[in-house]
Amino acid sequence: MTESLLKTPLHALHLELGARMVPFAGYDMPVQYPLGVLKEHQHTRAQAGLFDVSHMGQILLEGEAAAEALETLVPVDIIDLPTGMQRYALFTNENGGILDDLMVANLGDCLYLVVNAACKTQDLAHLEQYIGDRCQVNPQFERGLLALQGPSAVNVLTRLAPEVAEMTFMQVRRINVLGYPCIVSRSGYTGEDGFEISVPAEGAEKLARALLAEPDVQPIGLGARDSLRLEAGLCLYWHDMDTGTTPVEASLVWAVSRVRREGNGRAGGFPGAERIFTQQREGVARQRVGLLVQERVPVREGAELVDAQGAVIGRVTSGGFGPSLGAPVAMGYVDSAYAALDTSLFAMVRNKPVAVKVARMPFVPQRYYRG
């Protein structure tokens, strides 16, 4: 069954650690280790968790015009992204819909992109088609990518690479770790302080073993990765956003850089700008909100959201139990009339209404290190 699935450089290590493997975005990936999803989640928030995210797409954009070129595809300030900094971005289409979300870092001599695993082939084609003539698009899909997340992450990684202690949230550096040329960013997908470490494939297992040898570190699977990002209020592509949702509808207007907004210095110039500006001016019919579930039953993706009269006014796009919150949490899209904080709604679970309340995200406090 796993014959046709791709393997990350850590595949053998996952099996050795007793992981339960599942197909994800074409890869055979660990969904959980013997510790189990709940404890893996809690361990990450209490100490440090190590995630294999090598399935994600790493791409370098090289050449003088790379930043200017990338700006034609994302509503984000790339030209003035300082060297050594990373920024969240979105590829938009002609309708302002979201093709993918990604991280963009300025490494000084090139831009370093991390895109979603399930989108990486199409993202690469997109980059080559639209800006391939203005910069070199250099996929690094064979590289390993490890995420070390949690309050102990900095102490753990400092033992291998002392200079990471000086980094703050969203900073990026090229650092040799165990002799391998790595790209280290102080960011992640859990709401915790932590790092993502891009490592050549041949060094991935050695680095993972060195990190796992630290007493504070446990391996964490995709199950806890999902519950951690959900509690942190972070979107999952294909679920909480897709080509049918714009950044405005997805409540990601904060990701549209000021300078790229209507009336400002480099306004527009990315696909779908007109539609996004119109939505910003006139509002949207529906938008993404956080939902706190008032009962113990988990409310999952696909559940309809109804008002007190039972009229369908939205749909849950991600949901599950939040182990750190000790309660179920969800996010979804609702008609804008129902998007105000504390609005009482119901989610239909097995044909029964479950009380939910529109809530601020993240559901648990972010603990990024801002220096």
Partner: protein, 122 residues
């Protein structure tokens, strides 16, 4: 103490008073992963195959069907606040409900412990 099993990974234990206790097997709890919510049945009669409980793990929801027809006499209320008991002690504190079979012979039609062990290896 007679124990029987179903292909849906439930266990049934015939107690001394003729009442049958029902839960899920260790194999099932391990496959489901950490449970975060258990919805238990009402105290009434159910036919075999009727949905009587819902288990929600961190990953997904699963249904539990009535293994044999009968009347549910008691449910394990402790699971409402502590669904993790099912993971910790599936054959002990993690039991689901106690029932009186409509047909006391029905238990004998289910899998023996050996049959179940063979079934999960297949």
């Amino acid at each position: 103490m007679v124990m029987r099993f179903t292909e849906e990974h439930e266990w049934l234990r015939l107690e001394a008073d003729g009442i049958v206790t029902v839960g899920i097997t260790d194999y099932a709890q391990d496959a489901l992963g950490d449970l975060v919510f258990v919805q238990l049945p009402e105290l009434r009669a159910y036919a075999a195959g009727e949905e009587v409980a819902v288990l929600e793990s961190v990953k997904a929801a699963s249904n539990i069907a009535m293994p044999i027809s009968g009347e549910i006499l008691e449910i394990n209320e402790a699971l409402s606040d502590a669904p993790e008991k099912v993971n910790q002690a599936p054959l002990g504190a993690g039991w689901f409900f106690r029932m009186r079979p409509a047909d006391p012979e029905a238990l004998g039609t289910l899998l023996s412990e050996n049959d179940y062990a063979t079934f999960i290896k297949a």
